[in-house]
Symmetry: C2
Subunit: 331 residues, 2 copies
């Protein structure tokens, strides 16, 4: 029987359409289609040896005189690093200068690696760069929200093979985040609790949607997952802002993130995916109701007219089945 | 210079990223990749002659004893036509029985046609089916919102070649629609006007984003278009619900919709696209602040981690340039 489930974070309903469900192993990725990549690509601006081809470097993780992770300005930035926030009014319309920051995190000197196959220590280096840039950029008083995300594969919106992720520091708080805050406050009003802490509690009790657990993090398929194998990685400790993560939590997250992505890689044949860190607005101090987390979305289905027309999602997989499938993948 | 523009209907900001802009003709569709289709496909359940292969028929447009458009139940419905709306509570989570209606509008007896190349009269037949089903299904007291949409091409979420669209009658009002209503009321509170009527007025005055005009409709690229060639087709007359459309408006819309899709077909080489009719909740009577319209989204770019992480869109085309390009395509 199909059912509607409510995403408790957004209050949006998701159609869990079991009538058209596939078996978990039918959601296959692209490994066979991926090109075999060279160790180093002389044409790739992100490869070791081509550092002069990238824009201004803002941060690096090094070992001796070798870099392990570099953060550089995006060559085609969606937002410009210089300038002030200026509004323009044109009749009933409003526009604003797109100032902020758009950086690329080059995750590895090598061209042919992917997070799922990196060592946990290498993933920790990437996360270290995320934390440093997040903490640094939130001090810019033009910045209201910072989005860190990764696009893996063409279906997830990238054509660059070299392992990289991106950071966008924005001069506004997106509506999506405002709506989440509003819903989190509403939940807090009603219960006195953080909606994420309560979600974690219920997931840990029920266990049916858990994919992986570590000392400081829990990965699970949300009750109202938007799409097959949509995943949330939640810190157990209540923190509103990503940069509040401690060193030991960061180490642990490196192991966790790699494990989750390796489960996708091996269990679903290297699917295209996106992940994103959902954190609070940069001007917000610690709150009792907001709790940062990571969302991972394997791009194994497509959105269509229904999603455009309703803003809702149809998920053709049962979250409990997807979770059991990934739980069983050993990495 | 990149800029942020606010979508006046949703109040969401869109990044118009001119630094990475392409020329309009670089957003090319798939015509060369599309298979050459037979006049009739004996394997296709939607083709004339295979009527017994489809589920229950709820409506048809006929001429003599030949059907021109048929509406049938979806074989794998996302919502079930039978049953009541029942809630289930599982700890902090909520679910609901997915009752409603999921129908397929078979737009033509032939397998090898597409809206852009149909006659205006044939498009009117399809719209006639939309209006009849909309008017009929809104009388079901379990239905809160009706979404009519079309997926054209694999990139837009369909694998069936036979020209068809879909209707989903839902037992809830999606959040997307609730947010639009809230914003429309806010605009009405402030100005005493319908935000869509005011948008139309400004577009008709400025002319720079108009793509096509007819007696009763105006097609234009929104000021804060979400993606390249994202289009709105607005009725000039203020109406909240799609089924308030008159016969003469329906005739005119057939000509308009076909013209807009033909401009995409010829100007962008038959891109994949979705369209959807954005109407008011079915329980809503006529209001001064809601105004139905059609949104058309050519799938010429992909959403990626930024859109997932922020809920915002990056548009790599300037709306005024996209509009000028489509305006010049003769059909």
């Amino acid at each position: 029987m199909p059912e509607l489930r409510q995403n408790i974070v957004t209050r949006e309903w998701v159609l869990i359409a079991t009538e058209r469900a596939k078996r978990p192993d039918e959601f296959s990725g692209n490994r066979a289609d991926r090109p075999v990549l060279p160790f180093i690509d002389p044409e790739c601006p992100f490869c070791v040896g081509n550092e002069h081809q990238t824009q201004r470097e803002s941060f690096r993780v090094s070992e001796g005189n070798r870099w392990k992770v570099r953060v550089v300005l995006n060559k085609y930035p969606a937002l410009l690093p210089e300038g002030e926030r200026l509004r323009n009014i044109d009749g009933i319309y409003r526009s604003m200068s797109a100032v902020g920051m758009h950086e690329v995190i080059i995750e590895h000197p090598r061209h042919d690696v992917t997070t799922a196959l990196m060592t946990p220590a290498e993933v920790v280096d990437v996360l270290t760069a995320y934390r440093q840039r997040y903490a640094e950029l939130r001090r810019d008083n033009r910045v209201e929200a910072i989005i860190i995300f990764k696009n893996h594969g063409e279906g997830a919106g990238t054509s660059l093979q070299h392992p990289h992720s991106q950071l966008v520091a924005m001069p506004i708080v997106p509506n999506q985040l405002r709506n989440r805050i509003e819903e989190a406050i509403r939940f807090f009003d009603e219960t006195g609790e953080c909606v994420h802490c309560q979600t974690l509690l219920q997931e840990i009790n029920e266990r049916v949607r858990i994919v992986h657990e570590s000392d400081h993090f829990v990965a699970f398929i949300p009750y109202a997952a938007l799409s097959p194998f949509h995943l949330w990685i939640h810190p157990r400790r209540h923190m509103s802002s990503f940069d509040a993560i401690s060193d030991s939590e960061l180490e642990d997250l490196g192991v966790m993130l790699r494990a989750v992505l390796a489960k996708l890689y091996h269990g679903l044949n290297d699917p295209d995916y996106n992940y994103s860190i959902r954190s609070c607005p940069t001007r917000s101090g610690p709150t009792e109701y907001l709790h940062w987390y990571i969302t991972v979305i394997p791009r194994v289905t497509r959105t269509a007219g229904f999603e455009i027309g309703s803003g809702m999602y149809i998920n053709t997989a049962l979250p409990e089945e997807s979770a059991a499938y990934l739980r069983a993948v050993t990495v």
